[in-house]
């Protein structure tokens, strides 16, 4: 039996409006995709219990409104985050170009103890729309993630359930490492790199 101590891992999902944050979360937690999700207003979260290396943890996935304007009010839930997921739409350059801003916004608002080691995971969503619509190549995204502290990168489709499970597995693991490093005073020097050799299908990390 796993340890009875309950671990709650808080994960914040950020990215431009319409990149598919709500859809990714729902695909992962509820195994459902709908074309009729409304634009998220305010914030909401879903929880899912998962096992990470024999530990049962509860993931609390926070979904936020994508419009920048609404960020200033909803910072209450940034605090205490264990991992931040940055989502963009591979068919929209703009959503890719704002990733830095989202990352900075998060670091400013959440002010984690050690910003340099804080785990981010990048998801390039909507890969199901076909190569002819794609604006950001896998290579470009990959280079971007490498340059910023080797952020793990996954190309996903919430619609076709591509790579969603795999991405959240890494998210959960990195969140757990972060949680533990906070707990024990930050002795884990680099929790991010753990997953670098996890080369999953559709992911060229």
């Amino acid at each position: 039996m796993a340890s009875r101590k309950k671990v709650l891992l808080k994960v914040i999902i950020l990215g431009d409006s319409g990149v598919g944050k709500t859809s990714l979360m729902n695909q992962y937690v509820n195994k459902k995709f709908s074309t009729s999700y409304k634009a998220t207003i305010g914030a909401d979260f879903l929880t899912k219990e998962v096992t990470v290396d024999d530990r049962i943890v509860t993931l609390q996935l926070w979904d936020t409104a994508g419009q920048e304007r609404f960020q200033s009010l909803g910072v209450a839930f940034y605090r205490g985050a264990d991992c931040c997921v940055l989502v963009y739409d591979v068919n929209s350059s703009k959503s890719f170009e704002t990733l830095d801003s989202w990352r900075d916004e998060f670091l400013i608002q959440a002010s984690p103890r050690d910003p340099d080691s804080f785990p981010f995971v990048v998801l390039g969503n909507k890969v199901d729309m076909g190569e002819e619509r794609r604006m950001i190549t896998q290579k470009r995204a990959h280079t971007y993630c490498q340059q910023r502290g080797q952020m793990p990168y996954f190309e996903t489709s919430a619609k076709d359930n591509v790579n969603v499970e795999q991405a959240f597995e890494v998210i959960a693991r990195n969140a757990l490492l972060q949680e533990e490093s906070e707990e024990y005073g930050g002795d884990f020097s680099d929790p991010i790199n753990i997953n670098l050799d996890q080369d999953r299908e559709g992911c060229a990390c």
């Binding site: 009729s36 305010g42 979260f45 609390q60």
Partner: protein, 846 residues
Amino acid sequence: MTHQASSSRDPPSPSASFYDVSDDEEGGYSTIAHANSGRGVKLLFSKSKVYVHPTPSAKDNIAGFVALVQQKSAPLASDERERPGTSSSSQSKKDNDDASKYLLAWVPESSLAQDDFSTYVKVDMKDAETPPKQSYLVPPLPVASYYDDSNVGPYAFSLPLSQIYSILVRPPSIGWWFGSIVINTKSGSSLPALFFHDSECESTILQKKRRQRESFDPFGEGGDLFWGGDVVIRWLKRYVTVERSTAEPSVYLVNPTEEDLYGFGQGRKSLEGQKSDNNFQGQKKKPPGPGMDPLTKTLKETRWKLLESFAKITTFARKTADDLANNNNVPPQMRRLLQNPEVQTIQDEFDSARLYLARWAMGIAEQSEREKRQRIFTARDVLDTEDTDVGEFELLDAVEGIPDGKRRPVNMKEWKGYFDAQGRLQITEDEVKERVFHGGLDPEDGVRKEAWPFLLGLYEWNSTSGERRAQMNSLRDQYIRLKGQWWERMIDDQAAPEQEEWWREQKNRIEKDVHRTDRHIPLFEGEDIPHPDPTSPFYNEQSPGTNVHMEQMKDMLLTYLEYDTPPSEQQKSPDLLVNSHPQNLGYVQGMSDLLSPLYAVFQDDALAFWCFTHFMQRMSRNFVRSQAGMRAQLNTLDQLVQLLDPKLYVHLQKVDSTNFFFFFRMLLVWYKREFEWSDVLRLWESLWTDYYSSQFHLFIAVAILEKHRDVIMEHLRGFDEVLKYVNELSNTIDLQSTLIRAEGLFKRFEKTVQAVDKKNNFPAAPTPEVRQRQGKGKDAEEGDKLTAGGQGASSSNDVNHKRTESQADKEKVISPELRLLLSRKIVMLDENAEAGARTRASGLKD
């Protein structure tokens, strides 16, 4: 979101009857009738109102039948697999050939054809110990080989008895009002829990009654209370051996091997004991049946009425249980029950299910409220006599004076009657507003189309119909011109590159949101015309991609952008139609939510557009870059709750929730996401009247909060839990009672302000600070133009002061923000407060 792959099955957009709400259920319900199998299976037993609860929310519960069916031939040999790691099946009283012929099944009501439904009901109502002599055939049911979480849903399943390893039986108990069973398969998975809603199940009710009549004992033999799950175990016992585990009393093993029995705590001796129990059940005092424990039985049957009342407040949180246990007004039996360790255990065990319980408690409370108001009153009376609570009765008293006739909707005939031959209002504006506030407008007869432009301030109340016609003609021209302005700029590439880029960006946002706004409304649902813009992500060569109403929505929102954005120097020209008070908001999420009801009701783009500009006059503070307007409203809500329900406020403080962020969505789009479509229209027309206050929507917020205050105070222990709970209220809130409660709250608020003012007119020794603040409040009230600008900055100071004050000397001070709630003037942001777009430190800008 961008893929409309299913568009082929989408109906084209109708042009009328758009009021009707049709729930856009995803996917079809699977039917259980297999096309490849013409034969049916024999229905031996069935029980109705057995639910699957796929989510904690009661509204998602799926009603169905649990049934025992017999199929003609034994299925494949794979069904005969041995129990893992066992030798031979011991002492099975029926052999496994038999067991594989019989299937335990669950089938949702919604998947049954009418005839089959009747058959299930007929067999249920037979209520016999033996299967019916006549053969009742029903379509065969899909056999569950394994069970996967993602399938919780409206799907039928069945399982040969030979494949059942055990059944987890949970009689109705304190934690679980509905008794349930969970079938564990030999392959090691569990089928979804089946909940017996005994109070809805005709046959169970009849059986209970019969028992009572025959034996004068509702508890049946041996003192177990009869419930639906009993019956299922009894069915099974006809065909297989069912043994109750001694180690895990809630586990019933089906055709167990010796190892199984040993593993579940039965030594040989006890096993024999069990066996004889089975054989002589009727004579034993305490049979091993899955009955309720006496504790629950007492709770449920003897004291259930009292319990229901308590549920409203207590829902068995330990703290309250303790309170109750120590309360001398509570009957001694009840007190004993609550001190019982088992009750405590149940509380702990379901600690993680607190949210579920909270919801459940609310359901029970609502039910008992509907049944009889006094019960709640009794319980409240017992537990809570302090005057700091907002009593439901007090609230209801306050609005009792409103005659029922005033709560009847205003129809077209009544509306026309308000106007004279020239189309000029012949009663007072206030009279109209009072009627609309209390009664709303008839949703069917088109009166909304007439009345909304008045309520939104587009038409002057004292205008004639001729004047209004002239006004509309001119406005139609202006709309076309405004629309032409951005249109031409886009076509001609006249704009500066930077501006063009911004415009394109805005257009993308609008498009994204329009395609996900109210698509469940028939008007916006279908896609039947090709997308006009090949560069759009919604463009698709193979399928239509949009409809005319979505295109109209995009045009109106872009035109609003044109209207609301100050022109650049190079654009300025004498021909350009310019709004003298642009807010320069840009398109912000939520605007599409505000526009769509207007467009749906008017189905006239120019009229909808101009009404929208008026609606936006009061709503624009929600959308400004600094979010000062939202901050100010959340802050006012904070103060209002402090004043009206300090106990609840203290709890919210404890759980870090006084930012009131969980009301953000409700305030931003005026409850658009919380109520169903038809209720949104009704709510908005009440709010537009400004009958009591231009900010009546904040009283709606408190009304919603009050409705759930007990649950919030008992169960919710953190910001995340409060947020989740409040978010999930969406589509569960009853509008009419909320409006009435909000009205009561307003009156209470008004009285409180008057009382404080009266007291302060004869002050003992008011502090200079208090006097100064009151002065400020008066200014705001008397000032011709009400502004809330800069509140975000200044008010936080006020609140801090107020908090320390109220904690120090308990003196109630009416802050300017609260006093503003008594005003019917629309609150607008100070134009200067928003000077210049702000760029955030992170570089995020919009």
